[in-house]
């Protein structure tokens, strides 16, 4: 009798706990559903698609093949990857050299000026990225604004022909990804405990030594998250190379877009995407292993 009562009670508590868990499930369910439908399933679909065969006219045939991946090994495509990687590295370095001092100094501004600067960094996001790229065309084109100014002050005597060149694409990439670097560096500099720098100075470090031995180390998480935030998109961005490169600069992003739209080779585009994804994931992994930084300003 007693034991039955006890077991009933036990069943009761289990039930209560179960109900509690149910309710907990309900709150996180939307998150899981969203992730499954808009992240996981598309990736699975992409993965499956990359092993299928292209149909003669339109769409795909359900026939397993590895040809799509073997095709990537062709020199012409490998070269695109190499060039994209090079562009991504240069873009990342460019944003780092401009963005680090920018973000660092912004964090040291007085509060009022700080929010004004922050606004200036964020405002470009309010307009279309495409429009901002057309802005660069006006600057870069032959006899455009830049040429006129340079020739006007006598630095050059003929148009530079900057538009539709590699440097133009690089400038566009750096320009559009710079805010990510600035904001990452800013957020880690803003959190910085400046008494550490004072301690270093007090112990005999010059401004520069203190910067290199303490400040850089303390803002490393911001630098790394900035690098990741810039590097990954710069591998895949295609419209900048399209608009400012005029078809002369071919990046992986452009390749995928071409295969998808004009080439209509969905499986190959999928294979390229999978390889790009694996490649960037590997880069991040190597980076984290090499630097040992765990906290990336909330990233990863």
């Amino acid at each position: 009798m007693l034991s039955r009562q006890a077991s009933q009670e036990a069943a009761h508590t289990v039930n209560a706990a179960g109900r509690k868990r149910n309710r907990w499930w309900m709150t996180v369910m939307p998150l899981y559903l969203f992730t499954i439908f808009f992240v996981a399933l598309p990736i699975v679909y992409l993965f499956v698609l990359s092993f299928l065969t292209r149909a003669q006219t339109w769409g795909v045939v359900n026939e397993f093949t590895l040809d799509n991946y073997l095709k990537i090994l062709k020199p012409v495509y490998l070269n695109t990857f190499k060039e994209s990687f090079q562009m991504a590295v240069l873009t990342t370095l460019g944003t780092l050299f401009i963005g680090y001092p920018f973000g660092y100094l912004m964090a040291k501004l007085p509060k009022k000026t700080k929010s004004l600067m922050m606004l200036c960094v964020v405002i470009p996001f309010w307009t279309s990225a495409l429009m901002r790229m057309y802005g660069w065309i006006i600057l870069f084109r032959s006899n455009g604004l830049l040429d006129k100014v340079l020739m006007g002050i006598g630095l050059t005597d003929s148009p530079l022909k900057l538009l539709y060149s590699y440097p133009a694409v690089l400038v566009g990439m750096v320009y559009s990804l710079l805010p990510f670097m600035i904001l990452s560096v800013y957020s880690s500099t803003d959190k910085m405990d400046w008494s550490l720098v004072e301690a270093a100075r007090d112990l005999g470090a010059t401004r520069w030594t203190a910067f290199f031995t303490v400040t850089i180390k303390m803002t490393l998480p911001g630098i790394l998250s900035g690098i990741i935030l810039v590097f990954i998109p710069s591998m895949g961005l295609f419209f900048i190379a399209d608009i400012l490169g005029g078809g002369k600069v071919m990046l992986v992003g452009n390749l995928i877009q071409n295969q998808l739209q004009s080439g209509r080779d969905w499986p190959f585009a999928a294979a390229l995407s999978v390889v790009l994804m694996v490649f960037t994931s590997m880069m991040i992994w190597i980076y984290r292993k090499a630097t040992g930084v765990k906290d990336l300003e909330g990233l990863l």
């Binding site: 405990d193 008494s195 550490l196 004072e198 301690a199 270093a200 100075r201 007090d202 112990l203 005999g204 470090a205 010059t206 030594t209 031995t213 303490v214 180390k217 303390m218």
Partner: protein, 383 residues
Amino acid sequence: MSNETILELKNITKSFGDTQVLKGISLSIRQGEFITLLGASGCGKTTTLRIIAGLETPDNGNVYLNGTDVTTLQPNERNVNTVFQNYALFPHMNVFSNIAYGLKLKKVPKQEMTHRVEEMLELVQLAGYGTRMPSELSGGQRQRVAIARAVVNNPQVLLLDEPLGALDLQLRRQMQIELKRIQKRLQITFIYITHDQEEALNMSDRIAVMNQGTFEQIGTPNEVYYHPRTSYAARFVGTANLIPGRISRIEGQTAFVDVSCSAAGPAVQLPACITGRQASLVRPGQAVTVSVKSENIRLQKEPGSGLRLAVIEKNFAGGMLRISLDGGTLGELSASRQGIDAAFEAGEMVTADWEPEHGVLVDLEGTDSQSRGPAAAGREQDA
């Protein structure tokens, strides 16, 4: 402690925006001295320390280190080290690298560096902790590392900014003793900042009581405690009763002060001593303030020649019995006794007075930084 001046501040002023934080302070500190800047938060003591360290530049005035003007030198160009309030240990370096930081910058040979760091670890009783990271240490241990990191550089002056503020009471007491031991052993001049009067009285050779950007008084713990020069110093160091009155007559070293506890009531004559320099500053009829430490207030039940006051309450804490008295227009007065028993109950009337030497006339002169130069302060100290 020698008589050689190691550090001298001359008429230092400093403002942040519209607030003047330091109003022309002067101070001279001797080699090997343990001097404490004592004051409430916002009195300018941290700013003073930062100016000595070179982390802040004064608007006016000069800092002399060992006779050389270092006012405009960078922090790394002066042989002064600081123990910061929040320790400011480098979180990305282990204990050894933290302590070795200064030596590395001075390019001390590796073997000597290791030797000196290990010696320091031993001195602060952290031998074997070299490979730990700051995050793996307790508050007290971090404090020791911060001290070692500063002391290892053999500074001419060590600045300590409320180094024990974040520690609990027991640890603080223990660290007080240890700091004093380290200071004695290394013979380094310590400039110590605190708002804790007990800490200041326990450890210092001299105390500089600071208030609103000036020194109220600079003197030995004894002087500051028993002969406060200003009412601020009297109230800040020890519990003092400040009793206003008017001098009725002067007999040798004793001034008799008329004190009354109600506007219309009769005045009672109570004594105060006149110390050397004050003789020329007092005359009969003058309004003065007498400071009497609570433990020096004498109480008796029978009516006598003192103030007749009512006991408000008794309160026992820390081995002392505190008796609050209703002082009428004088405000609340407090007396304290050793032990728990006192023959008075709340509501009872008692007579309060004190020995002539326990009544101290305060606020007769300006504060230390206004009235006297640092040299004078030093001379008085030696006498």
